[in-house]
């Protein structure tokens, strides 16, 4: 049962071969059994909310998602359920409201099981920056699951849930999806409401979904996406719906590849796996076209100005005055209170990025760094626009390496370089996904598909067609079968 698709589960539920409560308890049991070793979840509900269960029952026939269990990344606000963002700062924070994403999925009858671990405030690529301990990769517990949505990715990979929400600022969905051997999609910026998603870098943050297959992702995404008048950056558009393709034929599809990126891959196994996946797509009828993103090599540098700059401001609200951690070591001095509260409440990486961002915005540096980085961002968007004049989608690596060992990367900068293939599409606000394409060194390898702005359909379609003729996405880590 734990490897069934949403459509198959829906069939069982709607024909009453299985009840939503039974399905939820199967997954809740797995959460309780496996989480001590994985630490993928920060919070497991005692039981599913009875009102939600009722909602699921009522919608069982009409909603594909009714009764489907779900875990939220711990940066989505869940009413009266702890939402920590992986930080001591919000250790005891229970939001008074639901994020738009949460309420939409609730309304569709999905059943929340708990909250997923993450890098503190979504800053990190290994989940080692969570204040509540690192997450183990279900394929090898000594290794990281990637980040920042490492808890969500590990939870889906170990089948603690069929679906998890996640968020992606510079690769936080795609990279852990690749390292955990699951499918994860970040839609176009403006597609999924950010209301109630605790902000890291507002102009880049985008909610998305992780699941076993691209089809599952598409089904959940159709409910998650859509205009929300509570988020001014959410785009008004026709409602998006998802229909999986009827055949695996990619005939007529032009797939952009970047030869330079493939050449950059130091890990021969990953390079070969990527090439084989591309070959399979060709066998399905696709045509490969070499494209260039001339400014993409500046993407990491620009990103690490812009994202910390926005973060330094977004995280200003954590001052210990109204909610969250408040230092008990000082009295009667507001500046000292701020200093101690923030030094105690934020971890080292968050503090590093706040300082980096504060510096990039400060007078005298703003033009040289922030404005310059914005210019690079526009150039990269232009690069993509030109590339998409020649191709329908792009297929590029996700990560230069498979899941690495915990504590292997001790300095921030080498960790930042891990995002070099994911950041360009983030800066351009484009839809992109990662799908499992191989196993190398007994660990999963992913491939990234990038689509033109607002064309989630294009990449989900190709990923679904790929998954029609391959079964890497169905492979499960042995320890959790």
């Amino acid at each position: 049962m734990i490897n069934l698709s949403i459509r198959a589960l829906h069939e069982l539920l709607s024909t009453k071969q299985l009840s939503a409560a039974e399905l939820a308890s199967v997954y809740l049991d797995r959460c309780r059994r496996y989480n001590s070793e994985l630490n993928a979840l920060l919070h497991i509900l005692d039981d599913v909310n009875p009102a939600q269960l009722l909602q699921a029952k009522m919608l069982q026939k009409d909603s594909l998602l009714a009764g489907i269990p779900l875990i939220h990344k711990d940066l989505f606000c869940t009413q009266n359920v702890a939402t920590t963002c992986g930080s001591n700062m919000l250790k005891n924070f229970k939001p008074p409201y639901d994020a738009t994403v949460v309420s939409r999925l609730n309304q569709a009858g999905m059943l929340q099981l708990g909250k997923a671990n993450m890098d503190e405030f979504a800053m990190g690529s290994s989940n080692e920056y969570s204040a509540f301990g690192s997450v183990a990769n279900p394929w090898d517990s000594q290794r990281v699951p990637g980040g920042s949505s490492g808890g969500s990715a590990a939870a889906v990979a170990a089948r603690l849930t069929p679906v998890a929400t996640a968020s992606d600022t510079g690769g936080s969905i795609r990279q852990p999806a690749a390292m955990c051997g699951i499918t994860g999609i970040k839609p176009s910026y403006g597609r999924v409401s950010r209301y109630g998603m605790i902000a890291f870098a507002s102009s880049l943050d985008q909610g998305g979904v992780m699941a076993v297959s691209a089809d599952d992702c598409g089904i959940v995404l159709a409910t998650m996406m859509g205009h929300d008048n509570k988020d001014s950056t959410s785009i008004e558009a026709e409602p998006w719906s998802w229909q999986p393709p009827a055949t695996a034929s990619m005939k007529g599809l032009k797939v952009g590849v970047i030869p330079a990126w493939l050449d950059e891959l130091q890990d021969e196994a990953i390079r070969q796996s990527s090439q084989q996946a591309l070959d399979l797509m060709v066998a399905q009828g696709a045509e490969l076209v070499a494209v260039e993103l001339p400014h993409a090599e500046l993407a990491v540098a620009a990103y690490y100005i812009l994202a910390p700059a926005e973060a330094s401001s977004n995280l200003g609200r954590f001052d210990g005055i109204r909610y969250g951690h408040q230092s008990q070591t000082v009295e009667r001095d507001i500046n000292a209170l701020y200093q101690h509260t923030r030094s105690e409440g934020f971890g080292a990486e968050v503090q590093r990025r706040i300082m980096l961002g504060t510096w990039a915005l400060s007078s005298g540096y703003y033009d040289d760094y922030y404005c310059q980085a914005q210019r690079i961002r526009r150039l990269i968007s232009e690069d993509f626009k030109q590339a998409f004049e020649q191709v329908d989608i792009m297929a590029v690596p996700v990560s230069p390496e498979v899941a690495f060992k915990k504590a292997e990367k001790s300095d921030g900068v080498s960790m930042y370089q891990a995002d070099k293939f994911t950041i360009p599409a983030s800066l351009a606000g484009l839809p992109c996904l990662s799908m499992p394409i191989a196993s190398a060194h007994n660990l999963p390898v992913g491939l990234q598909l990038i689509g033109p702005y607002f064309n989630e359909t294009a990449i989900l379609k190709v990923a679904t067609q790929f998954q029609m003729v391959s079964d890497y996405h169905l492979q499960m880590p042995e320890a959790y079968v």
């Binding site: 606000c77 001014s232 703003y366």
Partner: protein, 482 residues
């Protein structure tokens, strides 16, 4: 030699206008003043994680209307920016304001000075949210925070440094005040902080082209204080400069009890606000349609009113001035004029002198008048028809104020109608002439002033109810012809 003979004074003002809106600039919570502390605080106002701002469309409209009223350049696109600093009454750790691309660009406004009319150029006006309130004097060891004000909408109007005296600064401030109250975008309540101002003051040697170092006086919320504060600051700076000392660029506060300004913080303590475009708020397109809509909603401005009152309605200039520049007065005048047969000049005169006197007596403002425009118009009709005299009119007005009854009822019940019956008046006047032979003789000997004595006697006899026009006619006739 006074200070201004030796120094040129340079003053620029930043005026904060609270927009008269039901809800805040980026949240739906009420923006009403005076509610119990922290009762009007949405999740966004308290900066609960995950919340996002959504701009109040009406605030955009109001800002555009203001821009149109000062003939300002309006942008095609306007942007919000974050001004970052830490303070407990600023929950987000930043204030949403505007930096590049403010909603109102360069504009101008005319002020009256002793040397004649003068144009003051306005650099820009931008939208921003207000902070909450820190209350230091309620709890002994604690500062209390009230977030009701946090997020309420302001426009900050920045002038060029073109005012040369405290009087000019006050005239400018009044001009902006009249403008925003006329436009209906600000309630103009100074006590509640709906209209406050920061003044940048500097001196330069007479005739010099180079600007001196300026000091900024913060948070002035009365026309009287701004004048006193600037004058104090001019003297202080002149004294320093003449003693060979430098002016320090700093922020100062005006203490109205001691009538002096005091240093609040120096330039070195100034925050680096790290302005950057707010990524939660996309650039906002200002369409032609948006501007046209505001153009249509633009009320008649004081200058145009003055012209119309004097040229079309025949109101005396001094009276028209008092009406045209006071939004509530002009509204009352226009509303009552619609309803009465009386001449506009007659109405304006009574309004400016007699109605105003009553308002002063009652310490009330015309906006909260207990006499409605309708009731007042009926009174004007009675005056116009000669049913009562102006003297009686004042009395009736006070009665309406007290009792809420109509002018007709009061006149009838108290028997106040004017004596216009010629026979009755002749009898009274004959009697007066008869009993004052000495005064009659004086008048006939050429002492014209005595005429008023007789008028006074008639009014006294009739308790002010004699028709003044007829009284005058009959008196003239009887006094000359015996």
């Amino acid at each position: 030699m006074s200070v201004v003979d030796r120094w040129d004074v340079v003053i620029g003002l930043e005026i904060h206008v609270r927009l008269d809106l039901d809800s805040k600039l980026f949240s739906g919570s009420s923006a009403r003043y005076g509610a119990s502390p922290n009762s009007q605080v949405s999740l966004l106002d308290a900066a609960i994680p995950g919340t996002l701002p959504v701009v109040n469309a009406k605030a955009i409209d109001y800002a555009l209307r203001f821009g149109l009223s000062i003939a300002a350049e309006l942008p095609e696109v306007t942007r919000f920016a974050r001004k970052n600093y830490f303070y407990p009454d600023l929950p987000k750790g930043y204030q949403i304001s505007q930096m590049d691309d403010p909603i109102v660009g360069k504009g101008r406004i005319e002020i009256a000075t002793e040397q004649g009319d003068k144009i003051i150029n306005i650099t820009r006006a931008h939208l921003e949210e207000d902070a909450g309130k820190s209350i230091h004097d309620v709890y002994d060891d604690w500062t209390a925070i009230d977030l009701n004000r946090a997020g309420t909408a302001l426009i900050e109007v920045v002038s060029e440094p073109e005012m040369q005296s405290a009087t000019e600064a006050v005239a400018y401030m009044r001009a902006i005040y009249n403008r925003v109250t006329f436009l209906g975008i600000c309630d103009g309540n100074l006590q509640e902080g709906s209209f406050r101002c920061d003044a940048n003051v500097s001196l330069k040697p007479k005739g010099s082209e180079t600007l001196g170092t300026r000091a900024e006086i913060k948070n002035l919320n009365s026309f009287r204080f701004i004048e006193k504060a600037i004058n104090y600051e001019i003297k202080r700076q002149a004294k320093r400069l003449e003693a060979g000392k430098k002016i320090i660029q700093e922020t100062r506060l005006y203490d109205s009890d001691k009538d002096e300004t005091r240093s609040m913080r120096g330039k070195e303590d100034a925050n680096d606000y790290r302005y950057f475009p707010d990524p939660d708020l996309p650039a906002l397109k200002i369409t032609k349609a948006m501007i046209e809509r505001q153009q249509k909603l633009m009320p008649e401005l004081p200058e145009a009113k003055l012209k119309r009152y004097t040229e079309e309605l025949g109101v005396r200039t001094d009276e028209a001035l008092q009406l045209a520049y006071d939004v509530a007065m002009s509204r009352f005048f226009e509303a009552s004029q619609e309803l009465t047969q009386a001449e506009a000049a007659e109405n304006a005169k009574f309004l400016v002198t007699d109605f105003n006197a009553l308002l002063n007596e009652q310490s009330a403002h015309v906006a909260d008048s207990r006499v409605s425009a309708q009731q007042y118009a009926e009174l004007m009709d009675a005056l116009h028809e000669g049913l009562i005299s102006r003297q009686i009119g004042k009395k009736v007005l006070a009665e309406i104020w007290q009792t809420g009854q109509s002018a007709a009822t009061i006149i009838k019940q108290q028997n106040l109608a004017q004596i216009s019956d010629v026979d009755t008046l002749e009898i009274i006047i004959k009697e007066i002439i008869h009993s004052n032979p000495k005064q009659v003789q004086q008048y006939r000997d050429g002492n014209d002033k005595m005429f008023n004595f007789f008028i006074g006697q008639v009014m006294k006899q009739t308790q002010g109810q004699a028709n003044p026009v007829q009284t005058k006619q009959i008196l003239e006739e009887f006094l000359t012809n015996d």
